[in-house]
């Protein structure tokens, strides 16, 4: 397909085919001062897509608390950075790869892990732990088994190969995910607090360098980028599925860490969604500079690629760097050692423009500010769903509750057998959760994973990922607040002090008012809980349109909580250790609350009622007490009561070492 075709002025129809509304296309023309050509249109469509611009969700994210004494980098960069003392910091983020994983579970999940790893090490950090939060349809649904098998194998295949331990997470099943599985991947890395690298393209004349895998036509089949002009032949060459190469990512990781030890780098960013487009534009936008790229110098994997394809390809394992002028050779030598494709592909300018050349000829020229700050921000209509009251009503008199012990026993067994509560060992046994010798508390052994700063200094981090999406369906604000509080409770139970969170906000179609209501309520709940617990939001991701034929997934604001532990040897696990030890309950056994409970769902197949009320003051005192007891070495087993309540909590404590317990509840 010739290049001239790509340089012809486009029409509003082509804008609509790229996912822009006619009004958005008009704004592009206004920003450009003329009709954009195909390359320019493709770039605007990618930068103004929901995924890159957060146009439907941005205004709600502003309410999150994002600063704090330990926060070195809040939202806006590739990952958030939090100080952990002694000149050390941790950086972390969570990303979603929901749609690709539904199409091709193995590669969709694998490339999700690869992407979040790059977001972390691009900040200059060595990744030391990963987690994931997965949602699948009902176990009986035809697709669930294949999706579960493929997603878990993909996460394991990529994570195990690159040598970052997968140390925790959660898996839940519900009919609302039948048509849309959720794959949220979390990674945390460690770095020196005075050596944080950011995605900025500053310094007039500095070289822009491409490193990593060669560029192919991966991911170009996606709706946002296709347009009718492409002939059948090129269309078939465009796989919608990206394939990850964990071996190459390991080389890329080691090369980048070696580059960070030189002082030759000015800025660096991974090529994630919309590949070269988002990385180059965002780096220039952050520095308020401009950039000139020679697209014909890009290392290519396929012949006959065009500027449009090169700018929008989503090939994996690629980074964009800006080095100090004159230090190019040093950078390229390191890439040579690690067998990575590399090329100087342009330079930083001060024009405030993105100039794209093709064999010396200017193929596209765009103003940078409209691409990032100029993206539309939508005030989508919000409306409380008509069915919300109905699902919140729960008439306990209709719920036949077991009265004798055999009835209670049977109920407990059916809850323990429910896929949401049952052991997930089948999943995490496929993940290498021990590599790097950091894992002091392994998956399944504690309410949170504990990872040592092996070799750096004493202490480590406590990590937990949580969200009860049924509660968020019944009351998005309260449910989301519970997700924050429960992840903090899990961190406290192992003896950690909650520091900060990242999140992955998975919701349905924002153009439906009830979905926007769910989203706005959940954001309100998260910011309220984060303020109460003093755990700011330092990074995150929004995934919308998780919906099929008008049926949306449960609102799923997944929370990733990071806590600090001063001495990893003084911690608590989840299992009873020795017969004869006393069992204590912290926080009183309040009046029974069955709203939205796992009991109702597993035994009576009902999802009704409202989640239990939240008392932040009491929550903080209970968590503080548990943490103090664990740190004093007085308590070596601690477990929070969540799905299934106290009976399930006691059962789970007993399973670990095959011990029992005598408990009087009066």
């Amino acid at each position: 397909m010739s290049i001239d075709h790509e340089m012809k002025a486009t029409t509003v129809e082509q804008g609509v085919q790229h996912g822009l509304t006619p009004e958005e296309y008009a704004r592009v023309v206004e920003a450009m001062g003329r009709a954009p050509n195909l390359i320019e249109l493709g770039i605007f469509a990618a930068m103004w897509s929901e995924h890159c611009s957060y146009k439907s969700s941005r205004r709600f994210l502003k309410q999150f608390p994002t600063s704090g004494p330990r926060v070195l980098q809040g939202p806006g960069e590739n990952a958030g950075v939090v100080d952990v003392g002694d000149g050390l910091a941790v950086c972390f983020k969570m990303e979603s790869h929901n749609h690709p994983s539904y199409i091709e579970p193995y590669q969709g999940a694998a490339t999700g892990v690869g992407g979040i790893l790059r977001d972390v090490f691009t900040m200059g950090a060595r990744p030391i732990a990963s987690m994931n939060s997965l949602r699948f349809g009902a176990p009986t649904h035809a697709k669930t088994a294949r999706l579960l098998n493929g997603v878990v194998a993909g996460i394991a295949g990529y994570g195990n190969c690159i040598g970052v331990p997968t140390v925790g997470g959660e898996v839940q099943f519900d009919e609302s995910y039948d048509g849309n599985c959720l794959v949220n991947a979390f990674t945390l890395g460690i770095l020196k607090s005075d050596k944080i690298f950011r995605g900025t393209a500053s310094g007039l004349g500095n070289p822009v360098i491409y490193i990593g895998a060669r560029t192919g036509r991966d991911g170009l089949g996606g709706a946002v980028m296709s347009s009718s002009e492409f002939d059948e032949e090129s269309e078939s060459k465009r796989p919608t599925v990206q394939v990850g190469d964990p071996f190459l990512e390991k080389l890329l990781l080691e090369a980048c860490l070696e580059l960070f030890r030189t002082d030759a780098l000015v800025g660096i960013q991974d090529m994630g969604a919309a590949g070269l487009t988002s990385s180059s534009v965002e780096m220039a936008s952050r520095a308020g500079s401009g950039m000139e790229l020679e697209l014909d110098l890009i290392p290519m994997r396929e012949t006959g690629m065009t500027p449009y394809e090169l700018m929008l390809s989503e090939s994996q394992e690629r980074m964009l760097l800006v080095a100090k002028r004159g230090r190019e050779k040093e950078v390229l030598d390191i890439c040579e050692k690690w067998d990575l494709a590399h090329a100087v592909v342009g330079r930083v300018t001060d024009s405030g423009k993105m100039v794209l050349k093709w064999h010396g000829q200017v193929a596209a020229e765009l103003p940078i500010t409209p691409l990032t700050d100029g993206a539309p921000v939508y005030e989508r209509p919000i409306a409380r769903p008509s069915w919300q009251d109905e699902v919140q009503t729960l008439d306990l008199s209709l719920v036949v509750q077991p009265i004798n012990s055999s009835g209670l026993g049977a109920a407990l067994k059916s809850i323990l057998a429910s896929p949401n509560v049952a052991s997930k060992e089948w999943v995490y046994r496929q993940y290498d959760h021990m590599v790097r010798l950091g894992t002091a508390v392994r998956p399944g052994d504690g309410d949170a994973a504990v990872i040592r700063f092996t070799g750096q200094r004493e202490g480590g981090v406590a990590l937990a990922v949580d969200c009860n999406s049924r509660w968020c369906f019944l009351d998005p604000a309260l449910g989301a607040a519970h997700a924050v509080v429960e992840s903090a409770r899990n961190v406290s139970c192992v003896g950690g002090e909650p520091l900060a969170i990242t999140d992955c906000l998975n919701f349905g179609n924002p153009q439906r008012p009830e979905i926007m209501w769910q989203f706005s309520e959940a954001c309100r709940g998260i910011s309220e809980a984060c303020r109460a617990l003093g755990t700011p939001v330092v990074s995150g991701n929004v995934s919308l349109y998780n919906e099929t034929e008008g049926r949306a997934v449960f609102p799923t604001p997944t929370i990733g909580m990071v806590g600090l532990i001063d001495d990893c040897r003084v911690r608590a696990g989840q299992s009873f250790l020795v017969a004869g030890e006393k069992i204590a309950l912290l926080g009183e056994l309040s009046a029974s609350h069955l709203g939205g409970s796992e009991y109702l769902r597993a035994v009576h197949n009902q999802k009704r009622g409202v989640p239990p009320p939240l008392d932040y003051a009491k929550e903080k005192s209970v968590q503080g007490a548990v943490r103090a007891l664990v740190r004093a070495g007085l308590v070596r087993t601690a477990h929070d009561c969540s799905d299934g309540g106290i009976s399930v909590a006691l059962a789970e404590c007993a399973f670990g070492n095959g011990l029992g317990c005598d408990v009087t509840l009066s």
Partner: protein, 230 residues
Amino acid sequence: MMFAIVVFPGSNCDHDVYHVAKHVLGRAARYIWHKDRDLRGADVVVLPGGFSYGDYLRTGAIARFSPVMEEVRKFANRGGHVIGICNGFQILLEAGLLPGAMRRNDSLKYVCRDVHIKVENPMTPWTRKYAKGETVRIPIGHGDGNYFIDDDGRKRLEDQNQIAFRYVSASGARGEAGANPNGSLGDIAGITNARGNVIGMMPHPERLAEKALGGDDGVRLFESIIEAVE
């Protein structure tokens, strides 16, 4: 006493062995890049776990041709001590320094958990700090640990006492369900060459060498080789 730890593109347990050798046991440890041809006065050469060359084609199939492997072969033939852990074991098999080959785990899934192994031969430089028949707890983390060797080869292994470890249950019994994590022939978990200076094992001793991580049954393997060499 210097541990030379070979780093292939795709190795990811190199720093774990380095940590145990240097920080836990206080011995010298040095990384050797797979393109180097100089083992720089190594007393023990370690081929660590990982996914050398992405384990493409077969686990360890490409790594065995790295320049350093020629040096490792000469070092081993001179009686030098070489240990291949997990992917390192697969590389030693592909290089012909140890007999047999690895297949996919019979579950077709990667398995990461503690297993129990029985010390079959305490008379090697690697196992002298263990008692004969002792059962120890060591973690595994692999997808291709299903060892195979033809009947003649197996007979030679047994006749020359080259089987170092076998998978057993926690109580030390053979053949119980779940004891053998991958279908390995004869529950074989680790073997040595006839001379005993080269060993390959699928379990990772370096992953359980500190009480802080839940146990230290693995550290005695390193202590054995230190005692044998120093």
